[in-house]
């Protein structure tokens, strides 16, 4: 009997990472920075540059959040409020709201100070609290901020009765903010703001990286691993926590200021809990206390929703991911191929059956291929592909009820399948399950792109945590009991 091979399998991701990690850190940093900076040179499409700017914005926030949560181990759920405070401070200092127009550099420095101080003020009483209690106090702070932003449009000063001040503009927000301008150069295009955000991201990355290499960074990390042990070793944990908290808040504040200048307005819903959840997802996706990971996570989660925006493109990505996933996760590989062929066969059979017995249930394909003059090759390809799929699947005239039922059956079926032991039965059951998934996609999900996007993000978060609980780039910590 042959003994199993002793070498363990390494997945492709790990191998690629090892090669990349062999480069010196500075080189890696500048290669990535140059690649990012060349985005506006490669495309003149404002939409693409706007997404790139968004990636930088979210990456900066994720890095700042990483300082608080990843390094110092403080579960801060009020982080978004500091971002909001920064944005509102900028809005008040550079708009007609009170007729104040500070120069940009002064506003940004002032916002940094405001962030630092407000972080300190929230931090100093609440850092007494441990873990989850800190989480709830900061979460409360975030909600209070959101509500104040909504309700502070009619502030009555008790010592000046009758005078009503509009501080935040309520739901209408504050609009027509001054654009950023440095040394007489005014930033007014998307590209300008992209570069401003990129420079700010690079700056923050360098600062945080240097901090992390310093005495303070080492202290933070040791505190994140085990606060009690760190304190016993003589570290001033309270001061260190406050410092991390305030640093994170200050960075978030300045980023908020740049954001406000970019969109030239601030609204309460820009700082909702959804944004906070997205930020946490970004940070965790990349791996906690990993700066590169935070940037990568921000990239993935800021770009993915945009890719799914066009239904045809989303369809293409969906099927590509499905085929890829099937071939990757079934062993041996030919089983994946087998399932794929069977699903196509099953679909064709069902379609023919419905066509033979109840042809008036079927609806003709709803797609058409756009003319060559108005669309790109990839658009036409994805539309043509969509037509083929719609001709293959049982496309119903009244998809709502059946689609919803299929969706309700699909979720438990997929969950149950994911937990079955591998074997012939699982393989057999995979065929109808995949067909069901495709059917639901075509009947319901493709019609509701916004919901589908969120469903996918939710599913992604859960599956990612199950398969790589330390994030994409995270390393497994050794737990000492």
């Amino acid at each position: 009997m042959a003994s199993p091979p002793l070498t363990t399998r390494r997945d492709a991701l790990t191998r690629a990472l090892e090669r990349w990690n062999a480069l010196p850190a500075t080189a890696r940093f500048f290669i990535l920075l140059a690649a990012a900076a060349s985005v506006p040179l490669l495309t003149s499409n404002d939409y693409v540059i706007r997404i790139a700017g968004n990636v930088c914005l979210f990456a900066t926030l994720a890095v700042a959040l990483n300082v608080v949560v990843g390094y110092a181990g403080l579960l801060d759920l009020g982080f978004i409020a500091f971002y909001g405070i920064g944005a509102y401070t900028y809005a008040i200092l550079s708009s007609d709201q009170f007729g104040i127009h500070w120069p940009s550099w002064a506003s940004l420095i002032f916002i940094g100070l405001v962030g630092l101080v407000s972080g300190f003020l929230l931090g100093s009483p609440s850092l007494r609290l441990l873990g989850d209690y800190l989480a709830i106090v900061t979460l409360g702070f975030g909600l209070v901020f959101a509500q104040l932003a909504l309700t502070l449009d009619r502030v009555e000063l008790p010592w000046h009765p009758g005078v009503i001040i509009n501080l935040t503009g309520g739901t209408n927000g504050i609009v027509r903010l001054d654009p950023l301008s440095f040394f007489g150069f005014q930033l007014h295009t998307v590209t300008h703001y992209f570069y401003a955000l990129l420079v700010w991201l690079a700056l923050v990355l360098i600062i945080v990286h240097r901090l992390n290499q310093s005495r303070i960074g080492r202290a933070w990390r040791s505190m994140g691993e085990d606060a009690l042990a760190a304190e016993t070793m003589g570290m001033p944990t309270r001061r260190l926590k406050l410092l991390a908290f305030s640093c994170g808040s200050a960075i978030a504040g300045i980023t908020g200021g740049i954001f406000a200048a970019w969109q030239q307005s601030v609204f309460p819903q820009n700082f909702s809990t959804d944004v906070l959840i997205t930020l946490y997802a970004m940070m965790v996706l990349g791996g906690i206390s990993n700066l590169g990971g935070a940037v990568l996570g921000a990239g993935v989660l800021a770009i993915a929703p945009e890719l799914l925006r066009s239904p045809e493109l989303a369809r293409l990505i969906f099927y590509a991911a499905l085929v890829f996933g099937l071939l990757l996760f079934t062993r041996p590989r030919r089983n994946g191929l087998l399932v794929l062929v069977s699903v196509i066969g099953l679909g064709a059979l069902l379609r023919l059956g419905v066509q033979a017995f109840a042809p008036d249930w079927l609806s003709p394909p709803t797609l058409e291929v756009a003319a060559v003059s108005v669309s790109t090759a990839i658009d036409r390809f994805s539309q043509q592909f969509g037509i083929y799929v719609q001709g293959w699947i049982v496309l119903l005239k009244e998809p709502l009820l059946v689609g919803n039922l299929a969706f309700a059956v699909m979720i438990p079926a997929l969950l149950a399948l994911s937990r079955m032991k591998p074997g012939r039965i699982k393989l057999l059951l995979t065929i109808p399950a995949v067909y069901l998934l495709v059917f639901v996609w075509e009947t319901r999900l493709a019609a509701e792109p916004a919901v589908t996007r969120l469903l996918l993000i939710g599913g992604l978060l859960v599956t990612l945590m199950i398969f790589r609980p330390n994030g994409l780039l995270g390393r497994r910590k050794v737990e000492i009991v």
Partner: protein, 309 residues
Amino acid sequence: MEDFLTQLPQQLVNGLTLGSVYALIALGYSMVYGILQLLNFAHGDVYMVGAFIGFGVLTALVPQAAPLLPPAIVIILMLLAAMLGCGLLGVGIEWFAYRPLRNAPRIAPLISALGTSILIQNAIQLTLTANYRVYRTEKVIPLAAGIDIGDLHISATRALVILAAIVLMLALTYLVQRTKLGRAMRAVAIDREAAATMGVNVDRIIVLTFFIGSALAGAAGVLTGLVFTRVWHTMGFNAGLKGFTAAVVGGIGNVPGAMLGGMLLGLVEAFAVGFISPAFKEVITFVVLIIILLIRPRGLLGTAVIQKV
């Protein structure tokens, strides 16, 4: 001052109604936390699903004309269906999203919980659309019905909510304090490994805890629907947050604490709305929360845990 005294009893009733719902949600949070040290962010969405199950039963059994069954039975059926459905949902969530992460770093199940919450919300939005649904409570409980004590009018719906919550909480207290199952639950909460060595089937206890906690959330959903009539797919977010806050105020992991915290939170909110300003409801609630936590960092009934190194 005159105004204050006349309004006080009514706001008290409002606060207790709200507090009952919060307390039921907080119990699920607190019980799960006590056993797994896990913040189950999907709990609010379980509550929302409960409200929708209740809505389904109500609409099915009470058509436009006249109810098919006596109102009392309809309400009991709604509660039972929602509790069973939500209990199973909770067990499903545990099995799917949390069990594989039992030994992962603490933030991993938190993110998994966020993901589950997004999944449930959007699954409901996809199948039932994002519209408000309205409970036709007046078909089972006449609007005018109620108890009059002097000037104070307690509507029958509110009385029902408070009563149902009290009954459920008493049942839970009995379960936790007096039965073998409750003893096993307390043992697992104190020390999971030691309980396992003593022959407690830890996995089964965790599943049961999720079932009970989620069933309570489901009941809370139905009760909310009966009183406030409107249900929608994101109603779980705010309610979950309030439940979590209530659990923390009472001392997280502590069953009587969750009840106390929920009632207190409901009262604070009702008073804030009634006497100060509805616009500053959340601000006042959280200021109170922060003050309580600063005075008693472990919550009202929480005991200082001796940290073992």
